[in-house]
């Protein structure tokens, strides 16, 4: 058995101690810029590269506010729920950030438990803010209201539109659809695509998730799997910034499970038929990265996506004319759906005023130009959205923002404070509902109803 002399042992121990001492700053994270300082801490859902890409934004912000040091902390989440869980871990550890990037999926969770309402700041700086609100559609603002208070300012958003492969359209001799095309029109479109195609071509491909899954179909059938209701309140904002708007609320209220509504059943049966007729794929799990590749290869005819796809398709080598975008077809209404993202200030923050300055700077046109250089999400500002897409988007790129203008009742994906549990319940029951037998639709939706009741009750 090899032996270790006392001298060698002490020597090794000393070397280990010296090594630890020399690398202490790295081991303890003291060398991270801005760590343990009074910097405004901002958490984003992304990688270190994403944080580095925001350095330009920090530099520009510091030119205006040299007294507010900023540190952006990238937190990688597999999806928004994962990101929010990690933020909550930081909160539990007593190291909560001051400002967090929050998507629609987490808006009500943060508003209910963690975020600070922006009402006083918005009203304090109403003269500055008017220009922002003039450039932003009220539906985006309404989606960030909760119980009458405003919790976020939208930076980017995406509607669930229909992307169409030009090759598949031409092969099937199809024209661009009418604005008010119907579910029946859609069905005949994808049937024509199927007829004219060979091999493993899939006329309609979709992913099983909250955004772009069954929700747009439910909305266009004037229903949803949670009863769409609104909170009262919010008049302070509407009167001040959108005086001509009527019927706006204090935010979307998602409290009553509605999975057994006849219109929900009707929607699932329609989708089930598309799958049974081999026109649509069984909904697959995933975030859609693979889908960009498939679509650019021309093996998919149509799929739901938003403005965020344009840059991905560009990178995949698609030209503007290789694809186009249209609104979701109508059944009983043509109410569209979207998801948005923006910064929220944490209630626990001791730098709320500085956080507000950051929010204000980020929603300024200059801030947006620095933060978003590519057409990888629709901009909340109509004017900047035009700048992003007019030279890069498909022929009907205006459809992105016009989704809100043409269909003013367009609403966010249903995301109550218990969104993670709700999304889990939805995803797990959708496949059963649309891939089984016809009578299985009601059974699966009954299970969804039960799971939603448990999720919304917080059990």
């Amino acid at each position: 058995m090899p032996t270790l002399s006392r001298r060698a042992f002490i020597g090794l121990g000393g070397a280990a101690a010296v090594g630890t001492g020399l690398s202490w700053r790295r081991l303890s994270g003291l060398d991270i810029p801005g760590r343990n300082t009074n910097a405004l801490s901002i958490a984003i859902n992304g990688t270190a590269q994403d944080a580095a890409a925001n350095q330009g934004l920090i530099d520009a912000f510091n030119k205006v506010h040299p007294d507010i040091p900023v540190r952006i902390t990238p937190i990688q989440g597999a999806d928004w729920s994962d990101f929010f869980a990690k933020i909550l871990t930081l909160v539990a550890a007593g190291t909560a950030p001051d400002v967090v990037m929050v998507a629609t999926e987490g808006t009500q969770l943060f508003a209910d438990r963690l975020a600070y309402p922006l009402d006083e700041y918005v009203m304090r700086d109403k003269a500055d803010m008017q220009e922002f609100f003039d450039d932003v559609h009220p539906s985006l603002i309404e989606s960030f209201m909760y119980k009458g208070n405003l919790f976020q300012l939208p930076l980017s958003w995406n509607a669930a539109n229909i992307y169409m492969s030009s090759k598949a359209m031409q092969r099937a001799e199809l024209d661009y659809p009418a604005t008010d095309w119907t579910w029946d029109d859609f069905r005949s479109y994808i049937a024509s695509m199927r007829k004219s195609a060979t091999g493993s071509f899939r006329p309609f491909f979709w992913t099983n998730r909250l955004f772009g899954g069954v929700v747009p179909w439910l909305y266009t059938n004037n229903t949803n799997f949670i009863k769409p209701e609104r909170f009262s309140g919010g008049e302070w904002l509407w009167k001040q910034f959108y005086p001509r708007q009527t019927g706006r609320s204090g935010g979307f209220r998602w409290e009553q499970p509605n999975a057994e509504d006849p219109k929900v059943v009707d929607t699932f049966e329609y989708i089930q038929d598309l799958i049974a007729e081999n026109l649509a794929s069984s909904p697959v799990q995933g975030g859609g990265n693979e889908l960009v590749g498939r679509f650019s290869q021309g093996v998919i005819g149509m799929t739901p996506a938003g403005g965020y796809w344009v840059y991905g398709l560009q990178q995949a080598g698609m030209r503007r004319t290789d694809y186009d975008v249209a609104y979701f077809p109508r059944r009983t209404t043509q109410q569209q759906s979207f998801g948005a993202a923006g910064y929220a200030i944490m209630r626990s923050s001791k730098m709320k005023d500085a956080g507000w300055e950051w929010l204000k700077f980020c929603v300024s046109k200059d801030g947006m130009r620095i933060a978003q250089k590519h057409p990888d999400s629709s901009s909340a500002r109509r004017s900047y959205n035009t700048e992003l897409y007019q030279d890069a988007g498909p022929t009907h790129w205006q459809a992105f923002y016009d989704t809100l203008d043409k269909f003013p009742t367009t609403a966010p994906i249903p995301a109550p404070p218990q969104e993670a549990a709700v999304e889990t319940a939805l995803i797990k029951n959708v496949v059963n509902a649309v891939t089984g037998s016809r009578k299985n639709v009601k059974v699966a939706l009954g299970t969804l109803q039960r799971d939603l009741e448990l999720a919304l009750a917080g059990e």
Binding site: S81, I427, K428, T435
Partner: protein, 318 residues
């Protein structure tokens, strides 16, 4: 060696008195004890900090309701009541048990079959290659493997369905039907994990004396008869170890169903550990997650205890 005297340097005798020798011995023993304590300290501290304390905290947490944001609230046995009544949790345990039965049997059969085949005559390089090839999947990340498998088993564009189409079969709804999804998960899991069991069996088989087989051949035993009457009994101690480890590992399955199906369709492939993850990190029910973990730990302990009890009847030690 005598306790009264010893020679430390050749040619130079040193006389040691018995009482002083005892003192030296004691000092030496104490010094060794201190040295052992120093060497063990990092491990003991690590296990205490990162295993024992979290385990104790987890057991305590099982009786609380905690969502990270608010302070924990004592709820007594309510979390265990939820485990008994919540249909998703119940189904996930049943799925886990079903998976364990199928996957462990398949894993043991495949590993033993291949280990026995590798004992037959073949070139040394081929044997070495096959051993490495069978073991190789084990060193891959389960999440990466599952991600790749999700592409292979994709209903529309997957390679597996394309291959089946070449012979006029399919397309098979691998990941969107309950049966298909469970088959894929079992296959992926067994493919990735049988390598370790296989190595255990290789070791077990090589320890069986060849003269036992030679003697049975002289007595006219066939290959099958030798397998059933010699190989299986003599490899049974290895089988016990392999099955204990396989069952413990299979009861904790998470990566494959999480990446391939997220537990779907419906709850068809949801497992106990998935529900723990989901309860804690998705739904923020940390107390419930701790309670499910505690139940799973008890099940694993019972399964292992039962296996060792049964082994008295079925395991043959040479």
């Amino acid at each position: 060696m005598s306790a009264t005297a010893s020679t430390l340097t050749p040619g130079r005798p040193v006389t040691v008195h018995p009482e002083r020798a005892t003192t030296f011995k004691d000092q030496n023993r104490r010094a060794q004890g201190r040295m052992a304590a120093w060497f063990l300290a990092p491990t003991v501290i690590g296990i205490t900090l990162f295993t024992l304390i979290p385990m104790a905290a987890s057991i305590v947490l099982a009786f609380f309701s905690w969502d990270i944001i608010s302070a924990p609230r004592f709820v007594g046995l309510r979390n265990f009541q939820t485990i008994a009544t919540n249909p998703t949790i119940r189904v996930s345990f049943l799925n886990t048990f079903g998976f364990v039965v199928v996957a462990v049997i398949l894993q043991l059969v495949v590993a033993l079959g291949l280990a026995v085949l590798l004992q037959t005559k073949m070139p040394g390089w081929l044997r070495g290659f096959l051993r490495s090839a069978f073991f190789f999947p084990l060193i891959l990340s389960a999440a990466s493997v599952s991600l790749i498998m999700s592409y292979l088993f994709n209903e529309d564009f997957g390679t597996v369905n394309k291959m089946l189409a070449l012979v006029g079969l399919g397309p098979v709804k691998w990941l969107t039907t309950a049966a298909g999804a469970m088959v894929v998960i079992v296959l992926v899991y067994v493919w990735q994990n049988f390598g370790f069991t296989f190595l255990l069996f290789i070791g077990g088989l090589s320890s069986i004396p060849t003269d036992v087989y030679e003697a049975s051949s002289i007595d006219g035993a066939s290959g099958w008869s030798q397998f059933v009457r010699i190989t299986l009994p003599l490899v049974s101690p290895t089988m016990l170890v392999a099955s204990v480890m396989a069952i413990i590992s299979a009861l904790q399955i998470f990566d494959q169903p999480y990446v391939l199906t997220r537990g779907g369709p419906g709850d068809a492939t949801r497992t106990a550990v998935m529900v723990i993850y989901q309860s804690a990190f998705t739904e923020l029910h940390f107390g419930l997650a701790a309670a499910i973990g505690l139940v799973l730990m008890v099940i694993i302990m019972l399964a292992t205890w039962a296996q060792f009890k049964l082994s008295r009847k079925f395991v043959f030690y040479m």
